[in-house]
Symmetry: D2
Subunit: 339 residues, 4 copies
C-alpha cells in the first residue's frame, strides 16, 4: 500500500494534533517532513513523531522535502500565501481554518486553487466531520426535518481558559472573527443558503479586559439568508461548565439538536448536588475524533482523486461573513453581505 507523504507546517497546539494523527492514525498517510520556526517544535517532530526531515523555512520544505501533500497549521495570516506556494509547487494542500484574515488574501488562495484543478485543496472545518454533526447533516439529507429554515448555534469557550483569550484580545480581530467561523460555516452548510444580512451585539460583564481593548466577551449575531432562512450565532469565552458547542437546526418537519449538554462522557454522578454530568474541557477533547476523520478524508481525497465537499469558496465566504458580522457589531448597524 502506497502512502501519501505529508509535510506539516506549524506544530503548535493544533499542529501537534494533526501531526500525531498523520503519523499514527491515518493508515494511508505518513508524516515525512515538518516545518516550524520554533526549534522546540522541530525537536518534538524528531522525538515524538520520528520525523527527521525538518525545516525552518516553509519554501525550502516545499522545494526539498519528499512530500505529496502539505498540511498548514501556521498562524492565520500565513495561510493564504502558503496555500498558493504549495499548490504552485505541485502539492496537495490541507489548510486549517480560517482560510485567510482578509478577503483579498482569500482571493489569492482561490486563484491558486483555480490554477491547480488537479490538486486537492481541503479546508479544515473539522466540525463537519464530527460524528454528531455528520449525522445531523445525513438526517437533513434524508429529509427527516423537511426543509431546514433556522440554525441556532452557540460556541462558548470555557472560563477555565479565559486568560489566554484575554491575552490575545487586542489582536484577535474581535470575538466574531476569533470564535464564530465554525458556527458560520455550519449555518451555511445546514441551511444550504448564504446569509445576506446581519445584525450583531456584544456584551462584557465578567472580564472588563475585553471591553478595554474594544472586544467583548460575548457576542450574538442574527442572520437572514438568501432563501429567507434565519441564523443565530452566539459566541462567548466564559462558560463555567466547560466547552459549550451546541447547535439546533429547525426544519419544516422537525428539528435536530446537538449537545445542549456537552457531556464529557456517558457517566453521570449522583451526589448531594443532584445528578451531575461533567462537561468537555476544550476543543481538542470535544473534536478529537473530528480532527482525525477530516484528515483521513483529506488523505483519501489525495489518494483517490475525489474532490472534497468543502471548497476554497467556503473559506472565503466564512471570512466575508465574519467581517460583516464584526462590522455590524462595531457600528450597531444592519450590514448587507455581498459575495
Amino acid at each position: 500500500m502506497k502512502k501519501v507523504k505529508v509535510g506539516i507546517a506549524g506544530l503548535g497546539r493544533l499542529g501537534k494534533v494533526h501531526a500525531h494523527n498523520i503519523a499514527y492514525k491515518i493508515p494511508n498517510a505518513e508524516l515525512t517532513a515538518a516545518c516550524s520556526i520554533v526549534s522546540d517544535e522541530l525537536e518534538y517532530a524528531k522525538k515524538e513523531l520520528g520525523v527527521t526531515d525538518v525545516y525552518t523555512d516553509y519554501k525550502e520544505m516545499l522545494a526539498m522535502a519528499d512530500i505529496d501533500a502539505v498540511v498548514i497549521v501556521t498562524t492565520s495570516g500565513e495561510h493564504c500565501w502558503q496555500i498558493a506556494a504549495a499548490l504552485d509547487a505541485g502539492k496537495h494542500v490541507f489548510s486549517d481554518k480560517p482560510l485567510g484574515v482578509t478577503v483579498e488574501e482569500c482571493k489569492l488562495a482561490e486563484g491558486a486553487v483555480e490554477r491547480h484543478p488537479e490538486s486537492v485543496f481541503f479546508l479544515g472545518f473539522m466540525r463537519r466531520f464530527d460524528p454528531s454533526y455528520a449525522y445531523a447533516k445525513k438526517k437533513i439529507e434524508d429529509g427527516v426535518i423537511g426543509t431546514p429554515y433556522m440554525v441556532k448555534a452557540a460556541g462558548i469557550d470555557p472560563e477555565a481558559l479565559v486568560e489566554g483569550a484575554i491575552k490575545f484580545a487586542a489582536t484577535s480581530g474581535g470575538i466574531f472573527i476569533d470564535m464564530a467561523i465554525h458556527d458560520i460555516d455550519l449555518m451555511r452548510w445546514f441551511l444550504g443558503s448564504d446569509p445576506v444580512e446581519v445584525h450583531a451585539m456584544g456584551a462584557t460583564f465578567k472580564h472588563p479586559e475585553f471591553a478595554e481593548v474594544g472586544d467583548d466577551e460575548t457576542g450574538v449575531a442574527m442572520y437572514k439568508c438568501g432563501n429567507g432562512a434565519l441564523g443565530i450565532v452566539h459566541v462567548g469565552r466564559t462558560a463555567a461548565h466547560g466547552y459549550h458547542v451546541e447547535t439546533e437546526i429547525i426544519g419544516t418537519e422537525g428539528s435536530l439538536r446537538i449537545s445542549p449538554v456537552p457531556e464529557k462522557n456517558l457517566c453521570m454522578v449522583y451526589d448531594k448536588n443532584g445528578v451531575v454530568t461533567e462537561c468537555v474541557g476544550g476543543f481538542p477533547e470535544r473534536f478529537a475524533e473530528a480532527y482525525q476523520l477530516e484528515m483521513q478524508e483529506f488523505i483519501d481525497c489525495v489518494e483517490s482523486g475525489k474532490k472534497p465537499e468543502i471548497t476554497v469558496y467556503d473559506g472565503t465566504k466564512s471570512t466575508q461573513i465574519g467581517f460583516a458580522t464584526t462590522e455590524a457589531w462595531k457600528t450597531g448597524n444592519i450590514v448587507k453581505i455581498e459575495y
Copy 2:
C-alpha cells in the same frame, strides 16, 4: 375562614381553567359570579361550577354581584377598560395578559391602578409561577449564576394546533404581539433590566397562509438592555414535537436552562426509534400548575393586603416592547425602545 368572593369575566378556553381553579383549587376563594356574552359559557358556569349568579353585561356584574374581586379573561382588547371599571367599582382585579393591545389603553389601566392603591391589581404572567421558572429566579437571587447578562428564549406552538393560528393570523397583531409577550416578560424579569433596542426577523417556510396576510410563522428578535445585557426571543407556530417553551439564562458564574426537552412526564419509551421522550401538547398542559399557583397568589394578596410582585407597569412595558419588536420586524430596522 372567610373566602374571597370572585366574579369571572370570560369563560373561553383559558377562562375555564381559571374558573375551575377558583371554584375548586383555591381554598380561600369562591367563585360567586360569572359574566360572558356566550350563553353556552354561562350554562357551563351553572352546571360545572355551580355559579348561579351569571351576567351577560360586565358592568352589571360589577354593580350587582356579591364579589370582592374580578378575574378578567376576556379578549385582549377589552382588558383595560374592564380593569379600570372594576377598580373604580372597588374590586380587586386579576387580568390575563396582555395588559392591553395599545400603549394608550395600558396607560388608562395604569391610571386606574394609581387611583386605587388600596386595591390589588394582578397581571397574569403565569410563567413566573411555574415551579421551574420560579426555581430559576430563586437560583439567580441566591447568586448561583452571578450577574445574569443574557436570556435566550423560545416559545413555539405545536404544529398540531396550527390551523387555529392560521385562522386568526390576519387579526392577531402579528407573531410577536401574539406569541412573544411571555418571553419578553421573562427576559425583563430574569435580567432585571429593560430592553432599549431591538432588531427582529421573520420567516415562513411551511404555511404560506401566514405570509399571505403579512404575518410570519417564525420570528426571532434580538434585544439590548439598558444595563448592556442581551436577549434573544424566538417564537414560532410549527413545532413538530409539541409545545416548546425553553429558556436559558446566562450569568457571569453559570447558567440555567429550562426544558430543552419539553417532556410530557417522567416516562421514556425505548423502542425501535431509539429512546423517546414524548412532549407536552400545549400551554394548558405545560402550565397547569402555574395557572393554579398564580391564582392562589392573587387571592392571597387580596386576603393579606400584600402587593403582587408583577405590576401594571410590567404589562405596559411588555406591550411596548412587543410593538417595538413588531416595528423592527416589519421595517427591517433597528428600533429604539423608550418607556
Copy 3:
C-alpha cells in the same frame, strides 16, 4: 352539586396531605369530620381545614359524624379493623397502604369488603395515579412494548431523612415491609402476573444502626412470576441526591423507563460542577399530584358507583409478598409464595 362528605382518621404527615386535598382540591368532596388521638392534629383540622366535627374515638366518628366515606391514614396496624368497622357502618372506605401488617388482618378486611359489595373500598397505591406511571400503564395497554416480561424497580429514600428511619428501624418490620410495598404493587400491576418465588439480600455499609437491630439499609429482591416474568426490587434509605424512585418495564417490543433522573423540576444548572439536575426531596414532593388524583378517583367512584381498579386483594397480596421477601432476606433461602 352534591358533595361526598368525608371523615378522616389520622392527621399525621400523610394524613394532612389527604385532608388538605379533600378539603380544597376535590370539587365533589367535602371534609366534614376528623378523628385523631393527637390533640394538635384536631386543632389543625379546626384551624387549617375548617373542620369543627372532630373526634378522639374512631368508632364514635363512625356513629355520630355526618359522613358518606372514611379516609384512613392511621398507623398501619389499625387499618384493617378500621376498614371493617367503617364498611359495617355503611361507609365507603379509602385506606392508605399497606392494607395490614399481617395476612390474617388482611383477610378480615377482605371479609368486610365482601360483606359490603355496595360500598367502595379503595386502597392507596397512589403511584398508580402518578401521571408518569399511569402513562406507562397506558403505553403497555396500547401494546407499545409488546408483552411486558420484566420489571426493575428502585425506591430509595434520601439520606437527608435517614435519621427517622434509624429511629424506627427496630419496629418497622424490616426494609422490605417498610419500603417495598409500592414497588411490589407496581411490579404486579405492570406484569399482570403474581410472583411465585423470591430471593432477597440486604446490605448495610453506611449506618450500622440498621444492622444492629437486624434490619438493613439496602435490600434487593428477585422475583419469578407465575407467567415466567421476572422482577427486581431494590430498596434503600441513603440516596445522596434525593428521593429516588425509578422503574423500568421491559417487554418483547420495547421498554419503558420512569425517572432514572428524579428531577425536581425542568430547570438545570450549568456551573463549575458541570450540568446539574436537582432532585426531588421526598415522597410528598414526588407524588403530590398522585395523592390528589387517587383521592379524586376515590370520590368519583363513591359518587358514580364505579368500582376501583385496585382491590382489597391487591392489598393482601402485596402484604404476602412483602412477608415472603422478608423471609427470603432473613433466612437466605429461596421462598415460594402462595396466595
Copy 4:
C-alpha cells in the same frame, strides 16, 4: 522509535478490529504476522493490513514469525493453550476474553503466566478502558461515592442481531457464559470484592428458539460479595432500541450511572414522536475507542515492562463466576462460589 512487533491469531469480526488498531492506530506497534485457518482472513491481512507473513498453523507462527507479542482472538476454547504456547515461546500475550471455557483450562493459563513473570499477559476486558468506565473507576478511587456497595449492570444485545444468537444458542454455553462475563468483571472491579453467592433466573418471551435448546433470552443474577456488597447482572438479547450496556455503582456517599440512554452520538431528533435519541447498534460501535485504548495499554506494557492491572486470575474468576451463575440458573438453587 522501536515498535513492538505483533502477530495476530484469529481475524474474525473482533480480530479485524484488533488487527486494524495494531496496524494503524497504535504508534509503537506494528502488525508483522497473522494466523488464521480461514483463507479469506489471510487474504484480508495481506490486502488490507499489508501483512505478508501469514500462517495457517498457530505453532508455526510462534516458531517462525518475527514477533515480540501475540494477540489471540480465536474461538474461546483455543485461548488457554495458545496463551501457554505463546508464553512458553517467549512472547508477550494479549488474549481476548473469556480466558477459557473451563476452570481447568484457566488454571493451565495461570500456570503459564506464573512460569513467565518476565512476560506481559493481558486479558481483553476492554470495558475497563472505555472512557466512561475508566472515569467511573477514577471517581471511585477519588472517593466521590464513598465505599461502593452495590453494582447494577445490564448488557443487552440488540434485537436486530438476534438471529446470530439464536443460531449459536445450543452451543454458546448459555446466556450467562455468553453474555455476562464483562459485567461480572466490572462488578468485581468496581466493588473491589468477589462474589461468594449467586442466585439467577431466566425468561424467554419473544424467541422460543432459546428455550427449546435450554437457553433463555433474558437472564438476571443476584450476587453477594465477600465484603457484603451486592450485585445485579441483567443480560439479554432483544433490546429493541439497540445495544444496551448500562451500569450503576452505588456507594455510601453517592452513585455513578453509565449510559441509561445508550446514545449513538450527541444529536437528538425532535419530531412527531417527541424527542428521540438514537442508540448504538452493537459492541464494535459502542466500544470502538475502548478496543483501541486497551491495545495501546498492552503495547505500552510490553514496551515499558509495566504490569497490566488486569491479571490472569481475573480471567479465571470471571469464568468461575459465570459457571456458578449458570448452575444457579439451571438448578434454581443458591450457589456458593469458591475460588
